[in-house]
Protein backbone atom coordinates (compact mmCIF):
# COMPACT_ATOMS: atom_id res chain seq x y z
CA UNK A 1 0.00 0.00 0.00
CA UNK A 2 1.14 3.52 -0.74
CA UNK A 3 0.80 5.09 2.63
CA UNK A 4 2.45 8.39 1.77
CA UNK A 5 -0.11 9.06 -0.93
CA UNK A 6 -3.00 8.89 1.51
CA UNK A 7 -1.28 11.32 3.87
CA UNK A 8 -0.42 13.85 1.20
CA UNK A 9 -1.98 17.21 1.89
CA UNK A 10 -3.58 19.11 -0.97
CA UNK A 11 -1.18 21.70 -2.31
CA UNK A 12 -2.30 24.83 -4.05
CA UNK A 13 -0.11 26.39 -6.71
CA UNK A 14 -0.19 30.13 -7.38
CA UNK A 15 -2.05 29.29 -10.58
CA UNK A 16 -4.84 27.58 -8.62
CA UNK A 17 -4.99 30.57 -6.32
CA UNK A 18 -5.26 33.02 -9.20
CA UNK A 19 -7.97 30.89 -10.76
CA UNK A 20 -9.82 30.91 -7.46
CA UNK A 21 -9.72 34.69 -7.24
CA UNK A 22 -10.95 35.01 -10.83
CA UNK A 23 -13.75 32.56 -10.12
CA UNK A 24 -14.69 34.46 -6.96
CA UNK A 25 -14.86 37.73 -8.87
CA UNK A 26 -16.93 35.96 -11.49
CA UNK A 27 -19.53 34.85 -8.93
CA UNK A 28 -19.75 38.39 -7.57
CA UNK A 29 -20.21 39.73 -11.10
CA UNK A 30 -22.88 37.15 -11.84
CA UNK A 31 -24.64 38.00 -8.58
CA UNK A 32 -24.74 41.70 -9.47
CA UNK A 33 -25.56 41.31 -13.14
CA UNK A 34 -29.33 41.26 -12.87
CA UNK A 35 -29.73 43.86 -10.11
CA UNK A 36 -27.53 46.22 -12.18
CA UNK A 37 -29.65 45.52 -15.24
CA UNK A 38 -32.80 46.25 -13.24
CA UNK A 39 -31.44 49.62 -12.11
CA UNK A 40 -30.40 50.44 -15.67
CA UNK A 41 -33.88 49.59 -16.98
CA UNK A 42 -35.54 51.84 -14.40
CA UNK A 43 -33.18 54.69 -15.30
CA UNK A 44 -33.88 54.17 -19.00
CA UNK A 45 -37.63 54.29 -18.37
CA UNK A 46 -37.22 57.45 -16.33
CA UNK A 47 -35.06 59.05 -19.04
CA UNK A 48 -37.60 58.11 -21.72
CA UNK A 49 -40.43 59.57 -19.65
CA UNK A 50 -38.41 62.77 -19.19
CA UNK A 51 -37.89 63.07 -22.94
CA UNK A 52 -41.60 62.57 -23.66
CA UNK A 53 -42.52 65.27 -21.12
CA UNK A 54 -39.91 67.68 -22.47
CA UNK A 55 -41.07 67.25 -26.08
CA UNK A 56 -44.75 67.79 -25.37
CA UNK A 57 -45.59 71.53 -25.31
CA UNK A 58 -48.34 70.90 -22.70
CA UNK A 59 -46.01 69.27 -20.17
CA UNK A 60 -42.76 71.04 -21.01
CA UNK A 61 -42.89 73.00 -17.73
CA UNK A 62 -42.26 69.73 -15.85
CA UNK A 63 -39.14 68.81 -17.84
CA UNK A 64 -36.94 68.97 -14.72
CA UNK A 65 -38.47 65.67 -13.56
CA UNK A 66 -36.03 64.01 -15.96
CA UNK A 67 -32.94 62.19 -14.60
CA UNK A 68 -30.48 64.92 -15.61
CA UNK A 69 -31.90 67.86 -13.62
CA UNK A 70 -32.98 65.55 -10.81
CA UNK A 71 -29.52 64.09 -10.29
CA UNK A 72 -28.00 67.58 -10.34
CA UNK A 73 -30.51 68.71 -7.69
CA UNK A 74 -29.86 65.51 -5.73
CA UNK A 75 -26.13 66.09 -5.76
CA UNK A 76 -26.70 69.70 -4.76
CA UNK A 77 -28.82 68.63 -1.77
CA UNK A 78 -26.27 66.03 -0.68
CA UNK A 79 -23.22 68.29 -1.11
CA UNK A 80 -24.78 71.23 0.74
CA UNK A 81 -26.08 68.90 3.44
CA UNK A 82 -29.63 70.20 2.98
CA UNK A 83 -30.87 66.65 2.53
CA UNK A 84 -30.11 65.52 6.10
CA UNK A 85 -32.50 67.69 8.04
CA UNK A 86 -35.74 66.39 6.41
CA UNK A 87 -34.38 62.82 6.54
CA UNK A 88 -33.68 63.18 10.23
CA UNK A 89 -37.18 64.48 11.02
CA UNK A 90 -38.83 61.78 8.94
CA UNK A 91 -36.74 58.93 10.33
CA UNK A 92 -37.44 60.11 13.83
CA UNK A 93 -41.21 60.02 13.23
CA UNK A 94 -41.08 56.63 11.53
CA UNK A 95 -38.80 55.30 14.28
CA UNK A 96 -41.10 56.43 17.09
CA UNK A 97 -44.17 55.16 15.24
CA UNK A 98 -42.52 51.77 14.80
CA UNK A 99 -41.44 51.62 18.44
CA UNK A 100 -45.05 52.10 19.49
CA UNK A 101 -46.21 49.56 16.93
CA UNK A 102 -43.71 46.99 18.26
CA UNK A 103 -44.44 47.72 21.92
CA UNK A 104 -48.14 47.19 21.29
CA UNK A 105 -48.02 44.67 18.43
CA UNK A 106 -45.63 42.03 19.76
CA UNK A 107 -47.34 41.41 23.14
CA UNK A 108 -50.74 41.60 21.46
CA UNK A 109 -49.60 39.14 18.79
CA UNK A 110 -48.20 36.71 21.37
CA UNK A 111 -51.48 36.81 23.28
CA UNK A 112 -53.60 36.38 20.15
CA UNK A 113 -51.42 33.53 18.92
CA UNK A 114 -51.40 31.77 22.29
CA UNK A 115 -55.02 32.10 23.41
CA UNK A 116 -57.60 30.74 20.98
CA UNK A 117 -60.46 32.60 22.68
CA UNK A 118 -58.67 35.92 22.35
CA UNK A 119 -58.04 35.14 18.68
CA UNK A 120 -61.74 34.51 18.14
CA UNK A 121 -62.73 37.55 20.16
CA UNK A 122 -60.47 39.98 18.32
CA UNK A 123 -60.82 38.61 14.80
CA UNK A 124 -63.72 40.70 13.49
CA UNK A 125 -62.88 43.97 15.25
CA UNK A 126 -59.20 43.82 14.26
CA UNK A 127 -59.80 42.86 10.63
CA UNK A 128 -62.30 45.72 10.48
CA UNK A 129 -59.85 48.24 11.95
CA UNK A 130 -56.96 46.91 9.87
CA UNK A 131 -58.79 47.63 6.64
CA UNK A 132 -59.30 51.31 7.40
CA UNK A 133 -56.67 53.39 5.67
CA UNK A 134 -54.41 54.95 8.31
CA UNK A 135 -54.91 58.28 6.55
CA UNK A 136 -58.64 58.04 7.30
CA UNK A 137 -57.69 58.53 10.95
CA UNK A 138 -56.02 61.81 10.15
CA UNK A 139 -58.82 64.19 11.21
CA UNK A 140 -59.28 62.25 14.44
CA UNK A 141 -55.53 62.17 15.05
CA UNK A 142 -55.32 65.91 14.57
CA UNK A 143 -58.10 66.42 17.11
CA UNK A 144 -56.80 63.90 19.61
CA UNK A 145 -53.14 64.91 19.72
CA UNK A 146 -51.81 68.27 20.83
CA UNK A 147 -48.93 68.38 18.34
CA UNK A 148 -48.70 67.60 14.64
CA UNK A 149 -45.72 65.39 15.35
CA UNK A 150 -47.70 63.23 17.77
CA UNK A 151 -50.54 62.94 15.24
CA UNK A 152 -48.13 61.73 12.52
CA UNK A 153 -46.50 59.22 14.89
CA UNK A 154 -49.96 57.94 15.77
CA UNK A 155 -50.82 57.47 12.09
CA UNK A 156 -47.59 55.57 11.45
CA UNK A 157 -48.10 53.42 14.53
CA UNK A 158 -51.67 52.51 13.65
CA UNK A 159 -50.55 51.53 10.15
CA UNK A 160 -47.56 49.50 11.37
CA UNK A 161 -49.18 47.71 14.30
CA UNK A 162 -51.22 45.24 12.21
CA UNK A 163 -48.47 43.52 10.26
CA UNK A 164 -46.43 43.17 13.46
CA UNK A 165 -49.36 41.82 15.47
CA UNK A 166 -50.42 39.28 12.89
CA UNK A 167 -46.93 38.11 11.96
CA UNK A 168 -46.22 37.56 15.69
CA UNK A 169 -49.51 35.72 16.21
CA UNK A 170 -48.82 33.53 13.21
CA UNK A 171 -45.35 32.72 14.58
CA UNK A 172 -46.78 31.71 17.95
CA UNK A 173 -49.41 29.49 16.34
CA UNK A 174 -46.70 27.66 14.40
CA UNK A 175 -44.70 26.72 17.52
CA UNK A 176 -44.35 22.94 17.85
CA UNK A 177 -46.72 21.96 20.73
CA UNK A 178 -44.03 19.51 21.93
CA UNK A 179 -41.79 22.47 22.78
CA UNK A 180 -44.40 23.65 25.28
CA UNK A 181 -44.82 20.15 26.65
CA UNK A 182 -41.08 19.61 27.07
CA UNK A 183 -40.85 23.02 28.74
CA UNK A 184 -43.64 22.19 31.17
CA UNK A 185 -42.04 18.83 31.85
CA UNK A 186 -38.79 20.61 32.76
CA UNK A 187 -40.68 22.87 35.13
CA UNK A 188 -40.89 26.06 33.05
CA UNK A 189 -43.21 28.75 34.40
CA UNK A 190 -44.90 31.40 32.25
CA UNK A 191 -41.85 33.70 32.32
CA UNK A 192 -39.44 30.95 31.27
CA UNK A 193 -41.81 29.72 28.57
CA UNK A 194 -41.98 33.23 27.13
CA UNK A 195 -38.29 34.03 27.48
CA UNK A 196 -36.72 30.71 26.46
CA UNK A 197 -39.30 29.12 24.19
CA UNK A 198 -41.80 31.54 22.64
CA UNK A 199 -39.59 34.56 21.94
CA UNK A 200 -36.67 32.70 20.31
CA UNK A 201 -39.12 30.59 18.32
CA UNK A 202 -40.96 33.61 16.89
CA UNK A 203 -38.06 36.06 16.50
CA UNK A 204 -37.89 35.52 12.78
CA UNK A 205 -41.64 35.99 12.33
CA UNK A 206 -41.57 39.17 14.39
CA UNK A 207 -38.84 40.65 12.21
CA UNK A 208 -40.73 39.60 9.08
CA UNK A 209 -43.71 41.53 10.49
CA UNK A 210 -41.49 44.51 11.26
CA UNK A 211 -40.24 44.43 7.68
CA UNK A 212 -43.79 44.69 6.37
CA UNK A 213 -44.51 47.39 8.96
CA UNK A 214 -41.49 49.44 7.90
CA UNK A 215 -42.74 49.35 4.32
CA UNK A 216 -46.22 50.51 5.32
CA UNK A 217 -44.88 53.13 7.73
CA UNK A 218 -42.55 54.62 5.15
CA UNK A 219 -45.44 54.87 2.67
CA UNK A 220 -47.81 56.47 5.21
CA UNK A 221 -45.15 58.94 6.35
CA UNK A 222 -45.10 61.14 3.23
CA UNK A 223 -48.84 61.91 3.00
CA UNK A 224 -48.94 62.32 6.78
CA UNK A 225 -46.21 64.95 6.54
CA UNK A 226 -48.21 66.90 3.96
CA UNK A 227 -50.22 68.22 6.87
CA UNK A 228 -49.25 70.81 9.41
CA UNK A 229 -45.58 70.05 10.04
CA UNK A 230 -42.77 72.14 8.59
CA UNK A 231 -40.10 69.46 8.43
CA UNK A 232 -39.56 66.02 6.94
CA UNK A 233 -39.51 64.54 3.45
CA UNK A 234 -43.27 64.82 2.89
CA UNK A 235 -43.15 68.50 3.78
CA UNK A 236 -40.11 68.96 1.50
CA UNK A 237 -42.06 67.50 -1.43
CA UNK A 238 -45.00 69.79 -0.82
CA UNK A 239 -42.66 72.74 -0.40
CA UNK A 240 -40.87 72.00 -3.69
CA UNK A 241 -44.21 71.75 -5.46
CA UNK A 242 -45.30 75.14 -4.13
CA UNK A 243 -42.06 76.77 -5.28
CA UNK A 244 -42.20 74.92 -8.64
CA UNK A 245 -38.76 73.33 -8.06
CA UNK A 246 -39.57 70.08 -9.84
CA UNK A 247 -35.96 68.92 -10.00
CA UNK A 248 -35.78 69.21 -6.22
CA UNK A 249 -39.12 67.44 -5.87
CA UNK A 250 -37.89 64.51 -7.95
CA UNK A 251 -34.63 64.45 -5.99
CA UNK A 252 -36.62 64.05 -2.75
CA UNK A 253 -38.60 61.24 -4.32
CA UNK A 254 -35.24 59.63 -5.11
CA UNK A 255 -34.13 60.09 -1.48
CA UNK A 256 -37.38 58.53 -0.21
CA UNK A 257 -36.85 55.53 -2.46
CA UNK A 258 -33.22 55.04 -1.45
CA UNK A 259 -33.94 55.27 2.27
CA UNK A 260 -36.91 52.94 1.92
CA UNK A 261 -34.68 50.44 0.17
CA UNK A 262 -32.02 50.71 2.89
CA UNK A 263 -34.57 50.27 5.68
CA UNK A 264 -35.87 47.15 3.97
CA UNK A 265 -32.34 45.81 3.53
CA UNK A 266 -31.72 46.27 7.28
CA UNK A 267 -34.90 44.31 8.02
CA UNK A 268 -33.84 41.50 5.69
CA UNK A 269 -30.54 41.30 7.59
CA UNK A 270 -32.39 41.15 10.90
CA UNK A 271 -34.70 38.40 9.62
CA UNK A 272 -31.74 36.33 8.51
CA UNK A 273 -29.88 36.84 11.76
CA UNK A 274 -32.88 35.91 13.87
CA UNK A 275 -33.51 32.68 11.99
CA UNK A 276 -32.59 29.55 13.92
CA UNK A 277 -32.82 27.28 10.91
CA UNK A 278 -29.47 25.97 9.78
CA UNK A 279 -28.84 26.23 6.06
Amino acid sequence: MNRTATLKLPQYSSRDLALGVVRGADTVRKGLQYPALGIALLLALWWWGGTVIANNPDTMAFASFAPGPTLVAFWDMVSTGAVWSPIESSLQRVGLGLVWAIVIGVPLGVAIGYFLQLRQLTHVPFQFLRMISPLAWMPIAVLAFATWDAAIIFLIAIAAVWPITYATAHGVQRIDPMWFKVGRNLGAGPYHTLRHIILPAIAQDVFAGIRLAVGVAWIVLVPAEYLGVTSGLGYAINDARDTLEYDKLAAIVLVIGIIGYLLDAICVRLIKRSSYREE
Partner: protein, 269 residues
Protein backbone atom coordinates in the same frame (compact mmCIF):
# COMPACT_ATOMS: atom_id res chain seq x y z
CA UNK B 1 -31.95 8.03 45.11
CA UNK B 2 -34.96 6.42 43.44
CA UNK B 3 -38.47 7.18 44.62
CA UNK B 4 -41.37 4.88 45.42
CA UNK B 5 -44.30 5.40 43.09
CA UNK B 6 -47.80 4.28 43.88
CA UNK B 7 -50.59 4.44 41.36
CA UNK B 8 -53.79 4.52 43.38
CA UNK B 9 -56.91 3.27 41.57
CA UNK B 10 -56.61 5.47 38.54
CA UNK B 11 -59.60 5.65 36.26
CA UNK B 12 -59.60 8.14 33.43
CA UNK B 13 -62.15 9.34 30.93
CA UNK B 14 -61.16 11.64 28.11
CA UNK B 15 -63.82 14.22 27.51
CA UNK B 16 -66.37 13.08 24.94
CA UNK B 17 -65.40 9.42 25.22
CA UNK B 18 -67.83 7.00 26.76
CA UNK B 19 -65.43 4.16 27.49
CA UNK B 20 -62.80 4.70 30.17
CA UNK B 21 -59.26 5.06 28.80
CA UNK B 22 -57.90 3.68 32.05
CA UNK B 23 -59.86 1.60 34.50
CA UNK B 24 -58.87 0.93 38.09
CA UNK B 25 -55.10 0.87 37.64
CA UNK B 26 -53.31 0.02 40.85
CA UNK B 27 -49.55 -0.47 40.95
CA UNK B 28 -46.76 -0.03 43.45
CA UNK B 29 -43.26 0.56 42.13
CA UNK B 30 -40.32 0.13 44.48
CA UNK B 31 -37.47 2.68 44.63
CA UNK B 32 -34.90 1.90 41.97
CA UNK B 33 -37.15 -0.54 40.18
CA UNK B 34 -37.46 -0.54 36.38
CA UNK B 35 -40.93 -1.08 34.99
CA UNK B 36 -42.00 -1.52 31.40
CA UNK B 37 -45.59 -0.80 30.37
CA UNK B 38 -46.31 -2.66 27.19
CA UNK B 39 -49.43 -2.95 25.10
CA UNK B 40 -51.02 -2.26 21.78
CA UNK B 41 -51.69 1.27 20.56
CA UNK B 42 -54.59 2.90 22.34
CA UNK B 43 -54.34 0.84 25.55
CA UNK B 44 -53.67 3.99 27.56
CA UNK B 45 -50.05 3.27 28.46
CA UNK B 46 -48.91 6.68 27.29
CA UNK B 47 -51.82 8.33 29.11
CA UNK B 48 -50.73 6.61 32.30
CA UNK B 49 -47.13 7.78 31.82
CA UNK B 50 -48.29 11.37 31.33
CA UNK B 51 -50.05 11.06 34.68
CA UNK B 52 -46.84 9.88 36.32
CA UNK B 53 -45.15 12.98 34.88
CA UNK B 54 -47.87 15.29 36.21
CA UNK B 55 -48.67 16.40 32.67
CA UNK B 56 -52.18 14.96 32.95
CA UNK B 57 -54.46 14.67 35.97
CA UNK B 58 -56.58 11.47 36.19
CA UNK B 59 -60.35 11.78 36.53
CA UNK B 60 -60.26 9.46 39.56
CA UNK B 61 -57.45 8.25 41.78
CA UNK B 62 -53.95 9.67 41.93
CA UNK B 63 -50.24 9.03 41.57
CA UNK B 64 -47.99 9.37 44.60
CA UNK B 65 -44.23 9.73 44.61
CA UNK B 66 -42.82 8.97 48.06
CA UNK B 67 -46.32 9.51 49.38
CA UNK B 68 -46.81 12.94 47.84
CA UNK B 69 -49.61 13.31 45.35
CA UNK B 70 -48.50 14.43 41.89
CA UNK B 71 -50.39 17.51 40.74
CA UNK B 72 -47.92 19.07 38.33
CA UNK B 73 -44.58 18.42 36.59
CA UNK B 74 -41.48 18.62 38.75
CA UNK B 75 -37.73 18.33 38.22
CA UNK B 76 -37.86 15.32 40.56
CA UNK B 77 -39.60 13.24 37.90
CA UNK B 78 -38.73 13.73 34.29
CA UNK B 79 -40.10 12.39 31.06
CA UNK B 80 -38.32 11.65 27.79
CA UNK B 81 -40.47 11.66 24.67
CA UNK B 82 -40.45 9.77 21.41
CA UNK B 83 -39.05 12.82 19.63
CA UNK B 84 -36.08 14.52 21.32
CA UNK B 85 -37.86 17.90 20.82
CA UNK B 86 -34.71 19.89 21.42
CA UNK B 87 -34.86 23.65 20.92
CA UNK B 88 -33.19 24.25 17.55
CA UNK B 89 -31.90 27.73 18.36
CA UNK B 90 -29.73 26.41 21.17
CA UNK B 91 -26.47 24.51 21.40
CA UNK B 92 -26.18 21.06 22.96
CA UNK B 93 -25.07 22.57 26.28
CA UNK B 94 -27.87 25.15 26.36
CA UNK B 95 -30.47 22.49 25.69
CA UNK B 96 -29.11 20.24 28.41
CA UNK B 97 -29.02 23.16 30.87
CA UNK B 98 -32.66 24.16 30.47
CA UNK B 99 -34.10 22.21 33.41
CA UNK B 100 -31.55 23.83 35.72
CA UNK B 101 -32.26 27.29 34.28
CA UNK B 102 -35.99 26.78 34.86
CA UNK B 103 -35.22 25.74 38.45
CA UNK B 104 -32.98 28.76 38.93
CA UNK B 105 -30.04 26.47 39.79
CA UNK B 106 -27.43 28.33 37.78
CA UNK B 107 -24.71 27.79 40.36
CA UNK B 108 -22.29 25.12 39.18
CA UNK B 109 -24.58 24.48 36.25
CA UNK B 110 -21.90 24.44 33.61
CA UNK B 111 -19.71 21.82 35.32
CA UNK B 112 -22.70 19.68 36.05
CA UNK B 113 -24.02 19.81 32.48
CA UNK B 114 -20.59 19.25 30.95
CA UNK B 115 -20.12 16.23 33.18
CA UNK B 116 -23.45 14.83 32.00
CA UNK B 117 -22.59 15.48 28.36
CA UNK B 118 -19.42 13.51 28.95
CA UNK B 119 -21.50 10.68 30.42
CA UNK B 120 -23.67 10.50 27.30
CA UNK B 121 -20.63 10.83 25.03
CA UNK B 122 -21.24 14.30 23.68
CA UNK B 123 -18.56 16.32 25.47
CA UNK B 124 -16.98 17.39 22.18
CA UNK B 125 -20.35 18.60 20.83
CA UNK B 126 -21.22 20.92 23.74
CA UNK B 127 -21.08 24.07 21.60
CA UNK B 128 -22.65 22.54 18.50
CA UNK B 129 -26.13 23.56 17.40
CA UNK B 130 -28.43 20.59 17.96
CA UNK B 131 -29.67 20.68 14.36
CA UNK B 132 -26.28 19.36 13.29
CA UNK B 133 -26.69 16.15 15.33
CA UNK B 134 -27.98 12.73 14.28
CA UNK B 135 -31.21 11.35 15.72
CA UNK B 136 -29.35 9.20 18.25
CA UNK B 137 -27.16 12.10 19.37
CA UNK B 138 -30.22 14.31 19.75
CA UNK B 139 -31.87 11.71 21.97
CA UNK B 140 -28.66 11.61 24.05
CA UNK B 141 -28.93 15.37 24.55
CA UNK B 142 -32.54 14.84 25.64
CA UNK B 143 -31.29 12.20 28.10
CA UNK B 144 -28.69 14.59 29.52
CA UNK B 145 -31.39 17.27 29.76
CA UNK B 146 -33.63 14.89 31.69
CA UNK B 147 -30.87 13.87 34.09
CA UNK B 148 -29.54 17.39 34.69
CA UNK B 149 -32.02 18.21 37.45
CA UNK B 150 -31.08 14.99 39.24
CA UNK B 151 -34.53 13.38 39.11
CA UNK B 152 -35.56 10.42 41.25
CA UNK B 153 -37.80 9.05 38.54
CA UNK B 154 -37.18 8.76 34.83
CA UNK B 155 -40.18 8.25 32.58
CA UNK B 156 -39.61 7.11 29.01
CA UNK B 157 -42.31 7.35 26.35
CA UNK B 158 -40.98 5.17 23.51
CA UNK B 159 -37.88 7.35 23.28
CA UNK B 160 -35.93 4.93 21.09
CA UNK B 161 -38.63 3.95 18.61
CA UNK B 162 -37.57 6.45 15.95
CA UNK B 163 -33.91 5.35 15.98
CA UNK B 164 -32.14 2.80 13.83
CA UNK B 165 -31.59 -0.67 15.34
CA UNK B 166 -27.92 -0.22 16.34
CA UNK B 167 -28.42 3.18 17.93
CA UNK B 168 -31.52 1.89 19.69
CA UNK B 169 -29.73 -1.03 21.32
CA UNK B 170 -26.76 1.06 22.43
CA UNK B 171 -29.03 3.75 23.91
CA UNK B 172 -31.16 1.14 25.69
CA UNK B 173 -28.04 -0.32 27.30
CA UNK B 174 -26.71 3.11 28.17
CA UNK B 175 -29.93 4.30 29.80
CA UNK B 176 -30.15 0.98 31.64
CA UNK B 177 -26.63 1.43 33.01
CA UNK B 178 -27.17 5.08 34.02
CA UNK B 179 -30.51 4.36 35.68
CA UNK B 180 -29.08 1.46 37.69
CA UNK B 181 -25.89 3.34 38.63
CA UNK B 182 -27.96 6.20 39.99
CA UNK B 183 -30.61 3.94 41.47
CA UNK B 184 -33.39 5.79 39.64
CA UNK B 185 -36.90 4.47 39.40
CA UNK B 186 -37.67 3.90 35.73
CA UNK B 187 -41.01 3.61 33.98
CA UNK B 188 -40.78 2.79 30.31
CA UNK B 189 -43.65 2.76 27.83
CA UNK B 190 -42.96 0.71 24.74
CA UNK B 191 -44.49 -1.56 22.15
CA UNK B 192 -41.14 -3.24 21.55
CA UNK B 193 -41.04 -6.53 23.44
CA UNK B 194 -37.27 -6.88 23.27
CA UNK B 195 -36.86 -3.38 24.70
CA UNK B 196 -39.11 -4.29 27.61
CA UNK B 197 -37.17 -7.49 28.36
CA UNK B 198 -33.82 -5.72 27.98
CA UNK B 199 -34.60 -2.88 30.37
CA UNK B 200 -37.26 -3.81 32.90
CA UNK B 201 -37.32 -5.74 36.17
CA UNK B 202 -41.05 -6.13 35.76
CA UNK B 203 -43.14 -5.93 32.62
CA UNK B 204 -46.78 -4.95 32.84
CA UNK B 205 -48.92 -5.91 29.90
CA UNK B 206 -51.86 -3.60 29.34
CA UNK B 207 -55.10 -4.42 27.58
CA UNK B 208 -57.21 -1.84 25.80
CA UNK B 209 -60.85 -0.66 26.09
CA UNK B 210 -60.78 -0.04 28.95
CA UNK B 211 -57.06 0.21 29.73
CA UNK B 212 -56.16 -2.29 32.43
CA UNK B 213 -53.07 -4.09 33.62
CA UNK B 214 -53.76 -7.50 32.10
CA UNK B 215 -50.75 -9.34 33.49
CA UNK B 216 -47.37 -8.81 35.07
CA UNK B 217 -44.15 -10.66 34.32
CA UNK B 218 -41.01 -10.55 36.46
CA UNK B 219 -37.73 -10.55 34.58
CA UNK B 220 -35.19 -12.12 36.95
CA UNK B 221 -32.18 -11.54 34.69
CA UNK B 222 -29.02 -9.79 35.88
CA UNK B 223 -27.94 -6.60 34.07
CA UNK B 224 -26.31 -5.96 31.67
CA UNK B 225 -28.44 -8.48 29.83
CA UNK B 226 -27.24 -10.77 27.10
CA UNK B 227 -29.87 -10.57 24.39
CA UNK B 228 -28.70 -13.79 22.78
CA UNK B 229 -29.00 -15.89 25.95
CA UNK B 230 -31.62 -18.66 26.12
CA UNK B 231 -33.37 -17.13 29.11
CA UNK B 232 -33.68 -13.77 27.37
CA UNK B 233 -35.09 -15.31 24.21
CA UNK B 234 -37.42 -17.49 26.26
CA UNK B 235 -38.83 -14.58 28.25
CA UNK B 236 -39.32 -12.67 25.01
CA UNK B 237 -41.24 -15.60 23.57
CA UNK B 238 -43.35 -15.87 26.71
CA UNK B 239 -44.20 -12.20 26.55
CA UNK B 240 -45.21 -12.64 22.91
CA UNK B 241 -47.88 -15.12 23.98
CA UNK B 242 -49.69 -12.31 25.81
CA UNK B 243 -50.26 -10.72 22.44
CA UNK B 244 -51.86 -13.77 20.86
CA UNK B 245 -48.72 -15.10 19.23
CA UNK B 246 -48.37 -18.88 19.53
CA UNK B 247 -45.40 -20.10 21.47
CA UNK B 248 -43.12 -22.68 19.92
CA UNK B 249 -40.80 -24.02 22.61
CA UNK B 250 -37.91 -26.06 21.32
CA UNK B 251 -39.44 -29.39 22.47
CA UNK B 252 -42.51 -28.99 20.29
CA UNK B 253 -40.75 -27.92 17.14
CA UNK B 254 -39.98 -31.34 15.56
CA UNK B 255 -43.58 -32.51 15.85
CA UNK B 256 -44.90 -29.26 14.38
CA UNK B 257 -42.55 -29.54 11.48
CA UNK B 258 -43.45 -33.21 11.07
CA UNK B 259 -47.14 -32.44 10.79
CA UNK B 260 -46.77 -29.79 8.17
CA UNK B 261 -44.37 -31.80 6.06
CA UNK B 262 -46.53 -34.92 6.25
CA UNK B 263 -49.60 -33.39 4.67
CA UNK B 264 -48.40 -33.10 1.07
CA UNK B 265 -46.94 -36.61 1.34
CA UNK B 266 -50.30 -38.01 2.55
CA UNK B 267 -52.06 -36.35 -0.33
CA UNK B 268 -49.62 -37.85 -2.78
CA UNK B 269 -50.16 -41.34 -1.37
Amino acid sequence: MGARITIDYITHHYRGQEEATLDGIEVAIEPGESIALIGQSGCGKSTLLHMLAGLLIPSEGCVRVNGHMITKPSPRWNMMFQKPSLYPWMTVRENASLGLIFQGQRKGMRERVDHLLETVGLADKANTNVQALSGGQQQRVALARSLATDPEVLLLDEPFSALDAFTRVSLQDEVNRLVRERGLTLVLVTHDIEEAVAMADRVMVMSANPGRIASTLEIPLPTPRDRASHRFVDIKAELMTYFGATRHPATQTPRDFGETSEKPAARAA
